[in-house]
Symmetry: C2
Subunit: 362 residues, 2 copies
């Protein structure tokens, strides 16, 4: 059965909910604003596709001046390679013979493919597969304070760089970090020390990849970086407004929802639950913000319902059947729930296109 | 591009991650255990398909003795009608002319279709569409303490029952509640009062539908109920173990994940993030439990990574490349992330089938 997606030309008021929608004008403005900022600072931009997972949107980013794209999974990268993208960075330790075999096939058809590694096991697995054919470029992932993946010291980064270069089919291409918010000084210090140690050994370190949307407009504070990666900026969300990286006028994604119940004078229930908004809080105490209903709080989600407390709402209260727009806490995970994305300009649907890299398996 | 799903016969150790998998034996046992309990108490069972969204699993539930199924969305119900299910309850206020038109078409091809309503707007919208053809059976949704949808008093339930019966194309079929956990006494009191008021008016109330997995095995404590609905019990999850409704041996779903990084002696990173486990906490302080690693805590998720604190782990610590099994906090939202579900028996893949009602739009 084909699901009844809205069609081009439909007014948003007639789009059945729950449904995320993307404002074309704001999307274009977000892409331009980030690219212009990075261009002004001479810093190449490599957008992360995790936020949209749509080749057509990545093409808008490339057309604006991005040098390539960033993926998180091999099968995501395959989707984008199929769509013609030829400079792809996979910021993940790619492990396991089957996965590495697909990575090798991908490397044969993409002009520039890079992956990261932060441990000898990953490097060893890559080295076994990449003993012939086109060499694979590998960046060493560094933990500069975010506490996720990455080697802990510049010395450890250098040791892995040597391990990479010791493998016939691998080429050490540089270093990468996904930093803590506000961590520019730590990133710069880590990069400088690492580059110094590598230089002492005569090892070239052409790529120094920094990233993150929450610090996108502070990217120039890491002068040693050769590229910046960011995803969320393209749609923006409530967390980005809180971070001061955008205003409410830059929010390209809203989740359309409908008031389906008004059980009490102070309670409304929306049809957007955790299967539309996700439960990502990102530090917020509630599950998104409803445009035009100041004081209304989405206090809980079940799978297909959002319970809204209207006690402190200062606007006229919405009746059953009213369509509302929710600003999601986190846009990237909303994208991941919907097979297609609906775009609009000035409230009229312009595109309804597959989220092509949604549902990639690894 | 076709994504590389595992194939039948693959050992789980070779299944690439992140990937939820369902134990066939535990699935069958969960279905039998719930059905046997409800049969023993003479209470018909109507499983909620939200947990699996797969017609073949619903058929197992029907084959075990369930009387029909429960869906949350019209398009979910369409998927199951296409698969031949002929007794479907949609526990949702169905609003808007386009949606109601599809509901009407569905009603023409499903032997028994019921929906709920908790407000006059919903009833009015249904009444307009269902003025001819096969009448639609409508239950009044009652809030017996859970604080989501539903009328607040038996008197309000009766008023809506009358409104339903006043509409030519609608038939009042009874009442429904999704109760608070531990709310059996409140449910019974609400049902008895409502039934008494309806009887006084000569209005029949054949269906009294109660629900919930957390109280599934207390369903007999609501003697006025004529059916029970539950979803989560079919796979079970960490929240169900905590609720005392099952043991770890009844967990049919695990999310396979791989240790992709060991940045420090006390930190491991898995490849199952919020796009595999979701951020649903359901009251837990962490994001799932890792089988065989007591003391290990999944302290944070990003989209494709889980950060595990091993400080208190008393087992041998897993190295990079190790596959682990994660018990998700909430199984229903994991299902909603994957286009197919992988089933296994004794660790060998038995079925890889589409999650057919995933991605339904409303």
């Amino acid at each position: 059965m084909d699901f009844p997606w809205p069609t081009v030309g439909t007014p948003l008021a007639d789009v059945l909910t729950p449904m995320p929608v993307i404002d074309e004008n704001r999307l274009a403005a977000n892409i331009a604003r980030a690219q212009d900022y990075l261009t002004a600072h001479g810093l190449p931009f490599r957008p992360h596709i995790k936020t949209h997972k749509i080749p057509a949107v990545a093409q808008q980013q490339i057309d604006a001046g991005a040098i390539g794209i960033n993926c998180q999974k091999v099968t995501e990268a395959e989707v984008f390679a199929d769509a013609g993208f030829d400079d792809i960075l996979i910021t993940y330790n790619v492990l396991g013979a089957a996965r590495v075999a697909r990575l090798k096939a991908l490397n044969e058809r993409v002009a520039t493919l890079r992956v990261v590694a932060d441990n000898p096991t990953t490097i060893s697995g890559l080295a076994q597969a990449f003993s012939d054919g086109k060499p694979l470029e590998v960046l060493v992932e560094c933990d500069t304070g975010a506490g996720r993946c990455g080697v802990q010291t510049p010395e450890a980064a250098v040791a892995l760089a040597q391990l990479i270069n010791d493998a016939d089919g691998l080429r050490f291409a540089g270093v990468l970090t996904y930093p803590a918010v506000g961590g520019a000084a730590d990133v710069e210090a880590f990069l400088q020390t690492t580059m110094g140690l590598l230089a002492d050994l005569g090892i070239d370190c052409p790529v120094r990849s920094n990233g993150g949307s929450p610090d996108l407009f502070a990217a120039h504070m890491v002068p040693s970086a050769t590229e910046h990666r960011a995803g969320t900026y393209v749609y923006n969300d409530r967390s980005m407004v809180r971070a001061g990286e955008c205003t409410a006028d830059d929010l390209a994604m809203h989740v359309l929802a409908t008031v389906v119940s008004r059980p009490t004078p102070t309670r409304a229930v929306l049809d957007a639950g955790s299967k539309a908004l996700t439960s990502d809080l990102l530090g917020f105490a509630d599950h998104g913000e409803i445009v035009g209903l100041p004081g209304a709080r989405i206090v809980s989600l079940s799978e297909e319902h959002a319970v809204v407390d209207l006690t402190a709402c200062t606007a006229p209260l919405p009746e059953v059947g009213t369509q509302v727009r929710v600003i999601p806490n986190h846009t990237c995970v909303v994208t991941n729930l919907f097979d297609r994305m609906v775009f609009h300009r000035d409230g009229i649907v312009t595109r309804v296109i597959p989220v092509a890299a949604r549902g990639t398996v690894w």
